[in-house]
Point group: C2
Chain length 412, copies 2
């Protein structure tokens, strides 16, 4: 089963918007076992859209067009698909009524232009999920099919998950269920994880179901994705659960989160579970930790706040740390301890390193100190972070949060 | 002159990496007056790469391939282009020597694999700029041309600017120079700016040189790009300077920055010029302002630090602001004033709003208060920010920094 993606919009070609939809669709197709061998961007031009869709449909079993379903004169995906199908557009009054009601429910009057969104190529049907004004389309062309989804990411995603992915799987002859779970890891390389899991992968390769795949995610670590097929959802989930157990036995605490969890959400959950509060003094990370923690809903229950003490005199006056004491293990220790006490938290954490001082050091570039202070102890981990200034900042965040995660586990 | 972009790499199709290179190239091509009507992603598969490059070369005058020039067995762009050209690959020993020396200068031995990067299709030449181990290629095909650049963004960008864009302009028959300047604006919609500049755009449209274009950049405002052609660089720059004067007369203080400047870099420069220091208390923005300021080189000269006082008792103990006083104009005022004094800065700024409290309010959703405190005055601006929680956080940053920028201008 092969499915191409045609992203439509002149603004994509001009680089005004980066086409992230195709990437997301590509990931979902791969996960569903469907090959996506080509992905194309084309502007809002009728002839070129028709050429692209036709060419993709020759090579593949299915085409997903993304964008061009809006109400304006630029939005001509409906027309282009009708041309490829060799059929006229038919206006569906019930779609128009639905769009009109959407406007009315927001206290607005529907512009007449929006009725264009009620045009459907003859023989095509609409996708049941419709989060916005643009209906998605299912357009059969002989044994093949064109799906049209809007360019608004959440509308596209809803239609992909609700209709297109299951429909593609059905068409591929697979009548069961495919499920997957992502285990997020930190602290080991992709090749290192592959080596640790080598025996397990050999066993799985022989059986073919479930499967394991790796995905490097830069400063967020390496993802291990377990995918299973079964006749039923319960069956697929059982296969995944069993395999997750095996992988967890091998990778242990390298795994920090599952699926949509993040390092910060996991740490906040663990603090909440233990009834502990947190304060942060971030020199190297310069606000990134506070930004990520405060972005999580209800984080204020455990996160008491963060300080970015750039000026030495601020460290002195607020945290009682000497102004010139910075970028060392002792500084990380004092900062973590001070911020814990000053913010009235149970745990204080800190980042500081060579990055923060202009003086020469015998330590290797990127050396950073991560501090954790509790009422009973203060610990400092020395790490060497790769890359330029911005990457060191970013890496210091996940390194410190992971250090805290492991520390919290030890408290059990 | 038409130029297609073929982005090569299975990881792009699988959504493991988002193809930002094509967007960047598309923007540069548009700026140089070259049409890019299709952009394609294809995996590391010889036959499909050949098909894509051939098809693009039929439709366009030039093709830029991006990726697949590395040393591993996956990297087969050289082979695919040689196939399209109908020529063999020839190994260039001098390229091999250059790559070997790159490794030696880093104290490493070159793996023999890297010699594959010294293979060049017969009749092709290499791009003079070579920031990494992969040489870029210029491959003539009759009157047309294929350029091959690596997928590493900064290597690709160096080759585009140093060789490919000038070469494409020469091929398009244009022998002069094209230059552009971006004027970044905040505080007005795209249609509003277009209306203000309407007369100016009519005049420019009639003359055709220079030109003005708009580019919406989400939470960073709207960019106005002035582009001019001339026989000489000095001529192009003079045209731009004259047009920039005209645009500035009309848009005035809506323009906050030029080209690579950002809102935060402009604010920091202005503070430095005035010899003033800054401290931040960020509730709504939750660390984003500190993160952006601390990311700028040498910001520590004027930026004394930031605090994210999540817990009410932290606001009380550190800033002497009552714990339950939050999310109001009075709170923004007190926070800005307190952080200025506590951090020993000349100016204190703050964000707080409905976003930060769970109590009901008669104010419209998204209402946010931006505080600025100096030794002489404390000002609060009430704004209504659109979108969800994360967008409100983001908008509060640029809104406050812009408010500070205007305030600093008034101090002259």
């Amino acid at each position: 089963m092969r499915c191409e993606v045609v992203a439509i919009g002149t603004e994509l070609l001009l680089g005004q918007i980066t086409d992230t939809n195709s990437s997301w669709i590509g990931e979902q197709l791969a996960l569903a076992g469907i090959d996506s061998l080509y992905q194309i961007k084309v502007g809002d031009n009728f002839d070129r859209m028709v050429e692209c869709i036709r060419h993709s449909l020759e090579r593949a079993d299915a085409v997903i067009t993304c964008g061009g379903l809006g109400p304006t004169q630029d939005d001509i995906t409906r027309e282009a698909i009708a041309e490829v199908m060799g059929v006229p557009l038919v206006r569906h009054p019930e779609i128009g009524d639905r769009i009109r009601k959407m406007f009315e429910s927001r206290g607005r009057t529907m512009p007449e232009n929006n009725l264009r969104q009620a045009d459907v190529p003859e023989g095509a049907s609409t996708i049941p999920q419709q989060p916005g004004t643009a209906p998605g389309l299912i357009c059969p062309v002989g044994e093949k099919v064109i799906y049209a989804v809007p360019g608004v990411p959440h509308e596209m995603e809803t239609m992909m998950q609700g209709t297109i992915l299951p429909d593609l799987q059905r068409r591929s002859g697979f009548t069961g269920i495919i499920k997957s779970r992502v285990l997020k890891t930190w602290g080991h390389s992709e090749s290192g994880l592959a080596e640790l899991l080598g025996d397990r992968i050999n066993i799985l390769d022989a059986a073919g179901n479930p499967t394991i795949a790796f995905q490097a995610s830069g400063i967020e670590g390496i993802k291990v994705r377990v995918t299973a097929k079964s006749d039923t959802q319960a069956g697929a989930l059982a296969l995944i659960a069993a395999e997750e157990d095996e992988v967890r036995k091998i990778l242990g605490t390298y795994i920090f989160a599952t699926d949509d969890e993040s390092m910060e959400s996991v740490v906040l959950d663990e603090l909440r579970r233990k009834g502990l509060t947190l304060a942060v003094a971030e020199v190297t990370s310069g606000g990134l930790i506070g930004t990520r923690l405060s972005a999580i809903d209800a984080s204020g229950e455990v996160f008491r706040g963060s300080i970015i003490p750039v000026a030495g005199s601020v460290r002195q006056s607020l945290l009682d740390v000497p102004p010139d004491e910075i970028g060392t293990a002792a500084a990380a220790s004092k900062l973590a301890n001070a911020v814990r006490i000053v913010f009235g938290a149970d745990i204080g954490i800190s980042t500081t390193g060579l990055h923060d001082v202009s003086t020469r050091s015998e330590l290797p570039p990127g050396t950073t100190f991560l501090g954790i202070s509790t009422p009973n102890s203060t610990d400092v981990e020395q790490v060497r972070l790769p890359g330029d200034r911005e990457r060191i900042r970013q890496y210091s965040v996940i390194s410190l949060l992971n250090y805290l995660r492991l520390k919290l586990q030890d408290m059990d």
